[in-house]
């Protein structure tokens, strides 16, 4: 259990772990488990900037270039729903390749959920979080902006954990049934839970009066009760002197994080401290094999923040963020989002480049956490997993329908040697790309309409 160590975030925050004997390293497992994650970042990378290889905004991904496949010219135009905000369309289309089914509803399952259902049709092993959804984001007018794991019926596959402490709690937390150590009372509480579970089993069974969607909802509820039961009754108590939870977030969450789309002020340090703690915890959850499926979001679709701070990379100062001053505007007009609106191929777009570069740096930070240790087959979790990195749009503008959802940036990991590495101009529809990926990992389901001529994208396969 060499992971039972203190964890350091970028801001030097230290957290510890509760002592839970069920936590085992995936490295100790004989078989490498199937894992799939969706990593989302807001606002996209304009298509012209994607052509610069790893020398432009994609520079932070360069150290991982042998373990990533950057796919350019992935077309998600199908996801555009006219009359609805393009950021949202693209966001719900990322990882599903289908137009949204509602403000909080995707048009179908996300990649990770298709794989999860194939390999774990009866649910995840005991002790695991079925789907872990985490993120650092602020804009939240529609759920689709920030949640990126969806069931087949289009509903969210889990609750977003937007505070690092909440994510920690979701993965590692104990739950209490308020009976202390009284074994008799524990037994009685358990009988209550058993009765409740029995009822949910009835409603998910053959004699249930519920329709398909409602039954699926009760199935989820039942899975959560099982998790609760396991944590409440089967996990050992914390030992005295065990480390404490991570500290509370300092950045805005909930309603105050999105004052009616007008944006918030935040420094680079505040943003990255929060994000890296989130990323560290998510990576830890994966390393401890407490989660094998889910999604992680770095900044929402159409995010509105007025960023400030010096941005450095590789020992050099890249840029000084000061969005409001640089735009000479306040509220939403002073947000980084506006750099995307102002993108002009013929200009330098220095601010936009810096923002996009920074996002790639933070995404790379998370990916590197999964690349630190080797598993039983000699590859890292990063190399063994199918991690899809994508975003909401081609370039975050609203004035070019041919660009908006075409050429959406994508990158994928190797999934245990199934996919190439490097850069490929795919030139294909997102549905075909995702379905090729799903086929390659042996997933049974497919995305998109049943009656559709699909195309196999062999150019991404190893």
């Amino acid at each position: 259990m060499n992971r039972r160590t203190a964890l350091k975030g970028l801001g030097g925050i230290t957290i510890g772990l509760p002592l839970l004997e069920e936590m085992t390293l995936a490295a100790k497992a004989k078989a490498v488990p199937v894992r799939a994650f969706n990593v989302f970042f807001g606002l996209g990378v304009p298509a012209p900037l994607q052509t610069e290889g790893f020398e432009g905004v994609l520079e932070p991904l360069k150290p991982l270039r042998d373990k990533l496949l950057v796919m350019r010219k992935v077309d998600q135009v199908r996801c555009d729903v006219s009359g609805i905000n393009a950021h949202y369309d693209g966001a719900t289309g990322s990882f599903t390749a289908m137009p949204a089914g509602g403000e909080a509803k995707a048009g179908g399952p996300s990649i990770d959920q298709v794989i999860r259902k194939t390999f774990y049709p009866d649910g995840m092993p005991v002790g695991m979080v079925p789907t872990l959804i985490g993120g650092t984001y602020f804009r939240r007018s529609r759920v689709g902006r920030y949640v990126h794991s969806y069931h087949a019926n289009g509903t969210v596959a889990g609750t977003m954990q937007e505070k690092p402490r909440d994510l920690f709690d979701r993965v590692f937390g104990m739950v209490s049934v308020d009976v202390g150590g009284d074994a008799r009372k524990q037994r009685l509480k358990r009988s209550v839970l058993d009765t409740v579970m029995g009822q949910y089993k009835f409603y998910t069974g053959a004699n249930s009066p519920l329709g398909a969607a409602s039954k699926a909802r009760f199935t989820e509820h039942l899975e959560r009760i099982r998790e609760f039961e396991q944590r409440a009754f089967e996990m050992k108590k914390k030992l005295p002197g065990a480390p404490t939870l991570p500290p509370r977030s300092k950045v805005a969450h909930g309603g105050p994080a999105d004052p009616g789309g007008m944006g918030i002020d935040i420094t680079l340090e505040e943003l990255t401290t929060e994000w890296r703690l989130m990323a560290d915890l998510y990576a830890l959850a994966v390393q401890m094999d407490r989660v094998r499926f889910g999604s992680l979001t770095f900044l929402a679709a159409g995010e509105r923040i007025r960023l400030k701070g010096d941005y450095e990379y590789g020992g050099r100062k890249v840029f000084q963020f000061d969005d409001a001053t640089q735009h000479n505007a306040t509220a939403d007009k002073g947000c980084s989002h506006e750099w995307w609106h102002k993108f002009n191929e013929k200009k330098k777009n220095t601010a936009l480049r810096a923002h996009a570069h920074m996002k790639m740096r933070e995404v790379a930070y998370f990916l590197k956490q999964l690349d630190k240790e080797k598993e039983a087959n000699g590859r890292s979790i990063l190399e063994n997993s199918m991690i899809t990195i994508s975003t909401e749009s081609g370039d975050g503008r609203h004035n070019d329908s041919k660009r908006e959802l075409s050429g959406v940036f994508h990158a994928i990991t190797g999934a245990n040697g199934r996919f190439k590495s490097g850069i490929v101009d795919v030139g294909a529809e997102g549905l075909d790309v995702y379905n090729t990926m799903l086929g390659a990992v042996g997933a049974k389901g497919r995305l998109g309409p049943v009656k559709r001529e699909s195309r196999h994208i062999s150019s991404i396969l190893a």
């Binding site: 089914g101 979701r170 409740v196 519920l210 909802r217 004052p259 004035n399 041919k402």
Partner: protein, 897 residues
């Protein structure tokens, strides 16, 4: 029945086979016989479907087979309930009749589950038979049609008692033998072909018709909740074979609803030969082609054509949004020629990608759909395409079980246990997330581990705050762990806490908890506490569980489901004792009974409280607490002012809707408001008194109505964006929408400056060829609000010294001519008077009531709801009544088993 192409091509008008071509000469004689046979049976659906009603049909026997020992169920509904003739020698069969000449029994092999389930659910039944009795003397009653177990146990029996028809129906208020029965008059039954129909509705009204005319009526009260699910369906005898009937059957049908007088007459008129499969009988609200239009073509036209070819823009003088204008000619060419895509200009230009002009062309699949539609006759459903109805996934209106929202949970706990758990619930339960405009949207009411933990903790807290012994005494005064004491208590307490009677397996499950407590040496009180804890975490407590399975058609809800729907829609709380009693007595299925409950419920303060939740959600008033306007521009903004604005809108709504009982549309122009001294000062009103006070605005021309309140005006942000405000009016008041900006247009907002107001900038956009088509539809809606700044203060000049105006034009969706207004007050009056706005309010309230977005499938019902509400005065109360009485609440669209 599927017809062979051979038959289709060769059938003449009199149904006989025509001469065959050379290929078919080789067909053997036997095959020809088969084909003749099929021709004889197969008739165009249109010849039959108009004769008999298929709505609610559960079983149908037309005796068309001339031999064999099986009588087939032809309803086409669910699993066929075929009957077997026990003594085939005692019957004589011809095509269309079965004559019972001697004692026999014709019965189902298995219990008649589908009849049992359907009738029990609906609480209604129709038993229909075309028969010819062998004589007018047989009695017993002699069983013609029976769903029973023996001579003294039945669910229903249609029998002959001499020269009368005798019908017995088992309910919770009649005996297990279905007595007292309903009889036709003496000498009403004779040995001749007779059409017999028995109907009974949920309110208990039972009627007996012979040959299309009503012969008897009485009230048969009670519910069918005590029907026995093991009984089989039988003809010509009792299941115990001791009540034989002799005569000839021509047709037997069972429905799970009461046919109307008109339908009974129609069936009689249609005669004994009107017959077909159930699938053809099933009543369709729309033809398949109309459904195809709604499902595929209306969305396609909305997406690709209506931007330029709607009522407003009608480029090329073509308006494709309306049936009345879509089939026009354009430049001497017919745009759509039904049945002939090749001759249709629409197809020609779409196929060549000439249209949509300067937009993405239709995909290959979309072109196929369009062509198919034209070639299939270009059938148009309804009169007008509602583009907004096609925005979302159609699946949003499928059934999603509704979890109690946080406010509903709090109110449910309070109502059922007396415990106020508001503080703890709001702290512990995760908040409900907004989806499609409301946070009670069922598809998004998911649960995660935090919910489970919260429900567990809260259950413990609630029980800790209760005197469980006192609570239990309401249901039973007995104490003890014995089976009869506990089961009785569990059943009664469970019925209250879980809002409907418990099924046997549920009683057993909860009873198990008390057994465990007893085995652990626990007390009666401890058992009660844990029982209540379990019930508070039950799916039936946390969710509004309803039956969603059926035959794929819309089924009436049960009495308990209806009570629950009514109470949660009107109160956001569970049914109270009075409502439950009314449900159990069948009163909710009677007009008077339902109306009495509606009146009582709407007079209850909880109705006003629930409506305040609606307003809070619809206008997203929670947004105000998170706003952060630029402090340099708006130094007067603070959290208290935000709170004042929220309070203003809630109090205003309460005054207009409840105190004055005015039409909902008056929310747009009522000349009053509520303000604190701080808000009054912000608005420039002379301060009146302390706290939140009522202000008469008759002498304040610029204010009056929701759109002039800070809570709505702040939607435009610091810059009071005309685009944002205009879009709000368009979407949330006029129930319309526009497409995305076209390609290659800079959408960056242009700032005002001296000599250039936002209105002038907007006018430029409207005048622009590429922008104006859409912007004309919404920006002028905000012109009337130009004098209100980003946080709702009134000003005659903006920060650059530009004089502001409040006149403009409003283009109502579906019309071509804008209507001018001279002031914001006039704008408010126009909106208040608009049927479109009134309809939008109906849609919004209904969406909140149902907990789901509304789609094209709801349009027709919503029209009826709206008309009914307007007829009742257009008030909130009349709208509530209309919603409750509509099929949206009275029925559930079931999923086929």
């Amino acid at each position: 029945m599927r017809q062979t192409s051979f038959v289709e091509k060769n059938r003449t008008s009199d149904g006989k086979e025509a001469s065959v071509d050379a290929k078919r000469v080789r067909v053997k004689f036997s095959q020809l016989v088969v084909c003749f046979f099929l021709v004889g049976l197969a008739r165009p659906a249109s010849a039959w479907s108009a004769d008999r009603s298929g709505d609610g049909l559960v079983a149908l026997y037309d005796f068309r087979l001339a031999k064999g020992s099986i009588v087939k169920d032809r309803s086409g509904v669910g699993k066929p309930l075929d009957l077997k003739i026990e003594n085939p020698k005692n019957v004589r069969r011809t095509k269309g009749t079965l004559e019972v000449r001697g004692k026999t029994l014709i019965r189902s092999d298995k219990p008649a589950a589908k009849v049992f389930n359907a009738v029990r659910r609906s609480g209604e039944i129709t038993i229909e038979a075309w028969v010819r009795p062998a004589n007018a003397k047989q009695d017993g009653p002699a069983r013609m049609v029976t769903l029973s177990g023996g001579s003294s146990e039945r669910n229903f029996t249609l029998g002959q008692e001499g020269d009368k028809v005798d019908v017995r129906l088992r309910t919770t208020k009649t005996s297990g033998n279905g007595i007292p029965s309903l009889n036709s008059p003496g000498r009403s039954l004779a040995p001749r072909l007779t059409h017999i129909v028995y109907t009974r509705n949920r309110g208990g009204r039972a009627r007996l018709f012979l040959n299309g005319k009503q012969q008897a009526e009485k009230r048969v009260p009670g519910a069918m909740a005590n029907w026995n699910g093991k009984y089989r369906l039988a003809l010509a005898n009792e299941l115990s074979s001791d009540r034989p009937w002799l005569g000839t059957f021509h047709l037997v049908a069972i429905y799970s609803r009461d046919l109307s007088v008109g339908e009974v007459a129609q069936h009689f008129k249609a005669g004994v030969n009107a017959r077909s499969t159930g699938a053809q009988l099933a009543t369709r609200k729309q033809s398949p082609k109309e459904q195809f239009f709604d499902r595929e073509i209306a969305p396609l036209l909305s997406r690709h054509c209506l931007e330029c070819h709607d009522t407003v823009n009608h480029k090329g003088r073509l308006d494709l949004s309306k049936k009345s204008t879509a089939f026009a000619t354009s430049k001497k060419e017919t745009v759509i020629v039904p049945g002939k895509s090749a001759e249709s200009l629409l197809w020609e230009v779409v196929e060549a990608d000439d249209m949509p002009n300067e937009r993405d062309p239709l995909s290959v699949d979309e072109k196929k759909l369009l062509r198919k539609w034209i070639d299939d006759g270009a059938v148009w459903a309804g009169e007008e395409i509602d583009p907004l109805a096609h925005t979302h996934d159609r699946r949003v209106n499928q059934n999603w079980v509704r979890r109690l929202t946080v406010p509903e949970y709090i109110e449910t706990v309070r109502s059922l246990t007396g415990v106020d758990i508001a503080k703890e619930a709001r702290e512990i339960l995760p908040p409900d997330i907004r989806a499609d405009g409301f946070s009670n949207t069922a598809y998004n009411l998911t649960v995660d581990l935090k919910h489970i933990e919260a429900y567990s903790r809260l259950a413990g807290i609630i029980v800790g705050k209760m005197n469980v012994r006192q609570f239990a005494k309401r249901f039973s005064r007995k104490r003890g762990f014995t089976d009869d004491v506990m089961r009785d208590l569990v059943a009664k307490m469970g019925k209250w806490l879980l809002r409907a009677p418990l099924e046997e397996h549920e009683v057993a499950a909860f009873r198990g908890i008390s057994t465990t407590v007893a085995a652990a040496g626990g007390t009666f009180e401890e058992a009660l506490s844990l029982l209540v804890e379990a019930m508070l975490q039950s799916p039936r407590f946390l969710y509004r569980v309803e039956n969603e399975r059926g035959d794929g058609t819309a089924w009436p809800v049960s009495e308990y489901e209806l009570a629950s729907r009514m109470s949660y829609i009107i109160w956001g709380a569970p049914p109270d004792t009075q409502l439950l009693e009314a449900a159990e007595n069948g009163q909710l299925f009677e007009d008077d009974g339902l109306e009495a409950q509606l009146k009582r419920m709407l007079d209850d303060p909880r109705a006003a409280k629930r409506s305040a939740e609606f307003v809070h959600e619809w206008l997203n008033l929670g947004r105000l607490a998170n706003m952060k306007p630029n402090p340099e521009k708006f130094p007067q903004w603070n959290a208290d002012l935000a709170n004042d604005m929220r309070a203003e809108t809630i109090a205003f709504f309460d005054d207009v809707v409840w105190k004055q009982n005015r039409p909902l549309a008056d929310l747009l122009n009522a000349k009053l408001t509520y303000a604190t001294p701080r808000l009054a000062k912000h608005y420039g009103l002379p301060v009146q008194g302390e706290g939140l006070a009522r202000y008469d605005l008759k002498s304040v021309p610029e204010r009056g109505g929701l759109l002039t309140q800070g809570s709505v005006l702040t939607i435009g942000g610091d810059e009071a964006s005309m685009v944002t405000r205009g879009l709000f009016v368009l979407r949330d008041l006029l129930r319309s929408g526009v497409k995305d900006p076209p390609p290659s247009v800079n959408t960056e907002p242009v700032p005002s400056r001296a000599g250039l107001t936002q209105r002038n900038i907007a006018r430029k956009r409207i005048a622009d060829k590429t922008c104006g088509g859409c912007h004309i539809k919404f920006e002028p809606l905000a012109f009337g609000l130009e004098k209100f700044d980003g946080i709702g203060a009134f000003q005659e000049k903006d920060e650059h010294g530009n004089t502001l105006r409040d006149d403009g034009e409003i283009l109502f969706p579906g019309t071509a001519k804008p209507v001018p207004y001279d002031s914001s007050a006039e704008l408010m009056n126009l909106l208040a008077g608009s049927d479109r706005v009134q309809q939008c309010l109906t849609w919004k309230v209904t969406q909140f009531a149902l907990g789901r977005p509304l789609g094209p499938a709801d349009s027709r019902t919503l029209d009826k709801v709206h008309q009914a509400a307007q007829k009742g005065g257009g008030t909130y109360a009349s709208l509530m009544r209309a919603i409750i009485k509509s099929d949206l609440v009275q029925k559930t669209q079931t999923e086929a088993n």
